[in-house]
């Protein structure tokens, strides 16, 4: 079943088209990422799902029910806010129980449910504290518990890991993923971090200028970027100009080529080109070698076990033809 459906949804603020004719179908139980730079419309899409924004035009359905005009408090959708938005005047337990309280659930029952939700996010016994006494990572977990205790059909997460430090972020990524698997709830999360989107999501929508540039699995988006924007934004793909692509024997369009698809030297069935080494850097597991070929700068990942070529040296590089992906869009 389709959890969230967008049909030609637009949201304009004055002359700014924050969301521009977006079509989207998120399946039930899916872990869906909306990826893009700030101002790309991803957060507005999330707010349209939550009900904080209403579409200027288009149609939104949540589990088959029309969502436009339905206020946030009548949607079976909950949000984890970027700044967590915990109520400072309530204890942690009261924060988590808030959704049940306003729905009229009895005190004993809702406090028990809140305790269970806190245990689920690994914060048992923290109920008596105040939000101000918790660390950023703990507040994040409370915000998660406060949303999940309502058993939403869709959980929306707005840059959920943005404020956490690297180590905590990696840990939370795994926990979110396993939580989503065990609960079976549809998760929709917004991020500007491509690594986060690639590692967590079942499918990714890449946003730019209010439009979806590409929608696909992490592998598709990573390996076969459809547009130059996606190639640039998702990772560090080489964007080859049309002139260069033509000299390699392909069509007359921009094309993407991932650095790890390029090796030093030639081989059977591979396409090769010559380039002058302009930079090398050691990345731990690999070396990145940047060469200049036909006016384009092209990066290649080579194993760290092989010494990188010297600067200024002209080397032969090669790749398998299927790794080069022609892209849409004007040149």
């Amino acid at each position: 079943m389709t959890a969230v459906l967008f049909q030609q949804v637009s949201r304009h603020f004055g002359t700014v088209r924050a969301v521009d004719s977006v079509d989207l179908a998120i399946a039930e139980g899916e872990f869906f990422a909306m990826l893009g730079p700030s101002g790309s419309g991803k957060t507005t899409c999330l707010r349209l799902m939550a009900g904080f924004e209403q579409p200027t035009s288009g149609h939104i359905e949540i589990f088959g029910e029309t969502a436009e005009g339905v206020p946030p408090y009548r949607r079976n959708v909950n949000t984890v806010f970027q700044d967590y938005a915990l109520f400072p005047h309530l204890s942690i337990l009261e924060n988590v129980a808030y959704g049940l309280m306003v729905k009229g659930v009895g005190k004993a029952e809702r406090l028990k449910a809140a305790e269970e939700a806190l245990a689920m996010v690994k914060l048992p016994g923290y109920g008596a504290r105040r939000p101000g006494q918790l660390s950023g990572g703990q507040r994040q977990r409370v915000a998660l518990a406060r949303a999940l205790v309502n058993r939403p059909r869709v959980l929306l997460l707005d840059e959920p890991l943005g404020a956490l430090d690297l180590k905590l972020r990696e840990q939370m990524q795994e926990e979110l993923k396993s939580l989503q698997k065990s609960l079976g709830i549809t998760f929709v999360f917004v991020t500007h971090d491509q690594g986060e989107a690639l590692s967590m999501a079942d499918r990714i929508a890449v946003f730019s200028d209010g439009r979806i540039q590409q929608l696909g699995t992490p592998e598709e988006v990573y390996k076969k970027p459809k547009t130059r924007f996606v190639a640039d934004f998702v990772g560090s793909s080489n964007v080859l100009p049309p002139d260069f692509v033509r000299t390699l024997g392909f069509g007359d369009s921009y094309a993407s080529l991932r650095p790890e698809a390029i090796t030093l030297g030639d081989g059977l069935g591979r396409k090769n080109f010559a380039g002058r080494v302009v930079a090398t850097s050691f990345l731990g597991a690999a070396n990145r070698v940047t060469v200049e070929a036909a006016g384009a700068r092209i990066a290649a990942m080579t194993p760290a076990s092989i010494a990188p070529p010297a600067l200024g040296e002209t080397v032969t590089l090669s790749f398998l033809p299927e790794d080069l992906h022609p892209m849409d869009g004007a040149r």
Binding site: A85, F87, P88, M101, V102, A147
Partner: protein, 271 residues
């Protein structure tokens, strides 16, 4: 001329500061002192003798009770009106963006910046132009003009510190507008409203100028005192009433001061 920057202020400055404070507060002590004097016609110093009889006399004067009752009712109702209107206005100005927002903010604050006499004359001519007879309600209206400002100023500062995502979070968790106000907004701005309300009450309770222009035949307590000063009969009664007024207005102001001082950590964002 000073040889050492770390020494405290020179003696002369200390004396000047002390004299300044004494000038501000000694007259109030004199008011208290003359509430106990045995001399009832003039203020001679030192008082010829001391007595508590004026408290009993005051207690038995119906005109004091009448004026006091009127003042309490006017102050209570003006404060109530101000709490509702001031909160609504503060919510509109701090929570939403609309055309003319800054202008409205200025227009709301203006009555307290205007001299009371201007507000008074303006209201008086407006009332007579609209042929509204002077009554209890015209006094309340006059007082509400500056009470709203006090509540608004307190509430708007606190509203700005209540993060907008708290309200969205509440709605997201299933609370409608009323529940959100009751469970999230009110607890966060409550002390500010209480402080604003107390200040408004104190302001209204000792207001003279606007009242002079908007009252008909009735006398609020301050007006009653003013009238009492011109006739030299049982003068210490005025002093006893003055003591009561000081207490009634001073305590709320003190309360408001403590409430707003401690309210700082209440309303921070969830971050």
């Amino acid at each position: 001329m000073r040889s050492d920057r770390n020494t405290s202020a020179p003696l002369g400055l200390k004396i000047a500061a002390g004299l300044g404070l004494a000038f501000l507060h000694l007259p109030i002590l004199l008011i208290f002192l003359y509430a106990f004097t045995t001399e009832e016609k003039s203020y001679q110093f030192p008082p010829p003798g001391y007595t508590l009889k004026w408290f009993a006399v005051t207690w038995n004067r119906p005109d004091v009770w009448e004026a006091m009752g009127l003042s309490v009712r006017v102050a209570s109702i003006s404060t109530a009106v101000a709490l509702v209107l001031g909160t609504l206005c503060a919510a509109a100005v701090s929570r939403t963006k609309f055309f003319g927002r800054e202008t409205i903010s200025l227009l709301v604050i203006l009555p307290i910046a205007l001299p009371g006499i201007i507000t008074g004359i303006a209201l008086r001519s407006a009332f007579s132009f609209a042929e509204i007879p002077f009554s209890f309600w015209t006094i309340v209206l006059g007082h509400a003009t500056f009470c709203v400002v006090v509540v608004y100023n307190n509430a708007v500062a606190r509203f700005r510190r209540v993060s907008g995502s708290l309200i969205e979070a509440s709605m997201d968790l299933g609370a409608d507008s009323f529940q959100t106000f009751r469970y999230v907004i009110l607890p966060n701005i409550g002390t500010a409203l209480l402080a604003g309300g107390m200040l408004a009450f104190a302001l209204s309770f000792d207001e003279v100028i606007v009242t002079t222009f908007t009252a008909g035949q009735q006398s609020t307590l301050p007006i009653w005192m003013l009238e009492e000063l011109v006739r030299p009969r049982q003068r210490p009664v005025t002093n006893v009433v003055a003591m009561v007024v000081v207490l009634v207005t001073f305590l709320p102001i003190l309360g408001a001061y403590y409430l707003t001082r401690d309210g700082d950590q209440v309303a921070g964002a969830g971050k």
